[in-house]
């Protein structure tokens, strides 16, 4: 079984009956490892469609989940259950609940560092005092506003006024949480979460390939959420200084939010500032200041200083990129594609009106960036299959478009793997205004293929 991965949470969704015989068939360690390789913050098993489970069935999952946590530091557990299932699990494991339980996957997302929508007001209750406190701290650290009910009565009273809260959290339990450097995207800024003591290990836990490719895709603002950092040593200091210097080549900015210098030598701050790192007391100081976001590069793309040219291998594999794009869009829109022109140059777009775009980077044995420019109508049509209905909601269309580009990226990855070429893909980036895209790609040459789906013109651009 494959996990559905969204916002850095991998969810497995078995259906029906789950016992000692079937659990091994639902999930294998290979399935878990494949999900963990996608750098997820959480690996969860959804019980939404499970009508029956017993302890033997859960034990098999728990064993695998624990191995993932030990290896990848991801938060693991179960989600999407009702009160009866929650109490059954708590009864099965009594004092040994080492995994987490989230009533819904939406609640799980509140605890994941990758959650995009912050500042949610959540009413929470747990019979266990320490759980109440742990949940409140986690929620607060993730930028939410927890409201704690101290008793069941208070919880019922407050939850009666459900509209006052974005989320109502009960029947939830935080087991051992992951300690991985998590990544989330807010607008066009990438936020990395740090915690505890930072030392030479940061070089191993920080995904430098992901970071470099995010730079290449056009992300220009990187914020380290450092509220939970206790202190750092000179090795970590050197790491961040180097990171900032390399980011400067792309005109990118690195910021720290919430870092306390109580236990970190204040001289470190000067050294880091000299390296170009900026410090902010609160995350909101950056995210809620649109002007500052724009200045720092978090709201629009900036021309990259480091122009790179396509390599032979990328050009050789060009048909696979086009195949992946065309086949996916044909499938999503039920329309046939026609190639109109192919040329090598900077991206050229005659009509910029009513168009949105998305890009996805790939790296590994070859690297580059795939850019797709969609007329609004094709984008809507493509997203209809994912959304299930026609929509004019621009945000929803952009969100679905990034899922679509993710599918195309996945297909490219699979097609290249068939050729023995191993690549990873970055998070997709979307552009509601193609002018931002043109700014980002200015000066970059690549292969542009103009396609037509029915009567709509569609642009494919492959660059580095």
């Amino acid at each position: 079984m494959k996990a559905l991965v969204k916002d850095s949470i991998g969810i497995f969704s078995p259906q029906g009956f789950l016992d000692g015989n079937s659990s091994n068939a639902y999930l294998t360690m290979e399935d878990m490892d494949a999900t963990a390789l996608l750098k997820v913050d959480m690996v969860l098993v959804s019980l939404k469609k499970v009508i029956f489970f017993n302890k033997n069935g859960l034990d098999i999952f728990v064993k695998m989940l624990k191995r993932v946590r030990a290896k990848n530091h991801a938060t693991v557990g179960f989600c999407d259950y009702d009160s009866k299932k929650f109490h059954a699990i708590m009864h099965f494991y009594k004092d040994e609940v080492t995994f987490s339980l989230f009533k819904t996957h939406e609640i799980a997302a509140l605890f994941a560092s990758s959650f995009k929508n912050q500042s949610k007001t959540a009413l929470l209750f747990s019979e266990d005092k320490s759980q109440r406190a742990a949940m409140a701290i986690e929620l607060h650290d993730n930028g939410h506003n927890p409201v704690i009910a101290q008793s069941k009565t208070e919880f019922l009273e407050k939850s009666a006024n459900g509209s006052a809260y974005d989320f109502i959290i009960d029947d939830t339990y935080l087991g051992q949480m992951g300690q991985k450097i998590a990544t989330r995207v807010t607008g066009n800024a990438i936020i990395y979460s740090l915690s505890a003591y930072l030392d030479a290990e940061i070089g191993n836990t920080f995904n430098i390939a992901y970071h470099n490719n995010s730079l290449n895709v056009g992300f220009r603002l990187f914020i380290f959420d450092a509220y939970k950092v206790i202190s750092m040593n000179v090795h970590a200091l050197n790491f961040f200084s180097r990171l900032s210097s390399s980011a400067a080549e792309y005109n990118a900015t690195i910021c720290f939010a919430g870092l306390s210098f109580e236990k970190t030598p204040p001289s470190f701050k000067d050294t880091m500032e000299d390296a170009g790192i900026m410090f902010f007391g609160q995350m909101d100081d950056i995210l809620h200041d649109k002007e500052l976001m724009a200045d720092l590069g978090g709201s629009s793309a900036v021309v990259t200083k480091n122009q790179r040219n396509l390599k032979k291998i990328t050009v050789t594999e060009l048909p696979r990129f086009i195949d992946a794009t065309v086949l996916t869009i044909e499938m999503m829109t039920n329309s046939k594609a026609l190639k109109e022109t192919a040329k090598i140059n900077e991206i050229s777009l005659q009509d910029k009106k009513d168009k949105i775009a998305s890009s996805i980077g790939f790296y590994g044995e070859m690297d580059g960036m795939l850019i797709l420019v969609f007329p609004n109508e094709i984008a809507k049509k493509c997203c209809e299959l994912l959304i299930g209905e026609k929509t004019e909601d621009a945000e929803l269309i952009l969100d679905s478009l990034s899922e679509l580009v993710n599918i195309i990226g996945g297909k490219v990855k699979a097609l290249l793997a068939d050729e023995g070429i191993s690549v990873n893909i970055t998070l997709p980036r979307t552009y509601s205004d193609v002018k931002d895209l043109l700014d980002m790609t200015s000066g970059r040459k690549g292969v542009q293929v103009d396609l037509a789906f029915d009567h709509d013109k569609f642009l494919f651009f492959l660059t580095r």
């Binding site: 969704s13 009956f17 029956f52 599918i407």
Partner: protein
């Protein structure tokens, strides 16, 4: 700048980009997008249904005689179809039925299975005729598909006995249910990779994908097959309710739909079918079956 050999050469020379000149040219020229997949539309679905052959004559007549209660005549006709006879022998001698001696005579087989059981077996045979020689989407084969049919049939009879329902049409309805799996296989096998990728970013079952692409769902296709095979309307109605998405206004049909939906997922939770990739080919609707679950678990002795 159009992609002409001359231009490329100049470009490469001046820009110092290493392009394998001829290779790029040839590959770009060959970008003709011959689809390796079939786009699924209403037309594709209709064409699939059109290609389904009507039930073989011998089979139709056997069913007709069984319908009239004439077991002897039905057996005589069935014997003329060698494939059907072999199927009937293999079914009744399956360990699931638990007969100690090999049963060879068709008349004897019909006698053992009874009127409703015989008809159900014939409909199972009819459905199995649709199954592909080589499965691509699901890790299935003729044997595992037969196992699924047998399991469903036996458990369905157990359920009907529990519900005290004695009706040929209702007994036969279960035979049509696995055709939803065959339809998924047939319509999606050419797009396996695309559908897998789609399902890796969005939790969509094959039924939903088909509905969104072609406007009709797997169970509508099954109903069309049932119509083509001249099966009773009641069978189609039960199958539609068994989708878990289209409750029937008829209380009995709705109840049977719930039992069938739960039975399907009970069977699809067996390791053989989970490993075949069938567990999530369809969305399970636990809320739909919530009110019969306790009764079901008692009947199936689920601990």
């Amino acid at each position: 700048m159009q992609l002409k050999p001359k231009n490329i050469k100049k470009y490469i020379y001046h820009e110092e980009i290493y392009f394998p000149l001829m290779q790029l040219k040839l590959k770009c020229m060959k970008l003709n997008f011959k689809s390796r997949h079939k786009v699924i539309t209403q037309t594709t679905i209709n064409s699939y249904i059109d290609k389904i052959p009507p039930a073989p004559k011998a089979l139709q007549m056997t069913i007709m005689f069984l319908d009239a209660g004439e077991l002897g005549k039905a057996a005589q006709i069935a014997q003329t179809d060698l494939a059907l006879s072999a199927y009937l022998r293999s079914i009744v001698n399956n360990p699931l039925y638990g007969f100690s001696h090999e049963v060879k005579e068709i008349a004897q087989i019909f006698g053992i299975l009874g009127l409703a059981g015989s008809q159900q077996t014939l409909y199972n045979y009819m459905t199995s005729l649709l199954s592909p020689n080589k499965w691509v989407l699901f890790k299935m084969n003729k044997t595992s598909f037969r196992t699924l049919q047998d399991h469903l049939s036996i458990q369905w009879q157990k359920i009907l006995k529990h519900l005290q329902i004695d009706s040929k049409n209702i007994t036969n309805a279960i035979s049509l249910l696995p055709s939803s799996i065959i339809v998924s296989e047939a319509l999606f096998c050419a797009n396996k990779e695309d559908v897998t990728l789609l399902r890796s970013v969005k939790a969509l079952d094959y039924n939903t994908i088909l509905k969104r692409l072609g406007g009709i769902d797997l169970f509508d296709v099954c109903s069309k097959i049932a119509k083509k095979w001249e099966m009773a309307d009641e069978i189609s109605q039960i199958i539609q309710a068994a989708s878990g998405l289209k409750p029937s206004h008829d209380a009995q049909i709705n109840l049977l739909g719930k039992w069938m939906h739960l039975l399907l997922f009970y069977e699809l939770s067996q390791p053989l079918f989970i490993e075949a990739g069938l567990n999530d080919f369809l969305d399970f609707q636990p809320e739909y079956v919530a009110d019969i679950y306790d009764e079901f678990s008692k009947l199936m002795e689920i601990a």
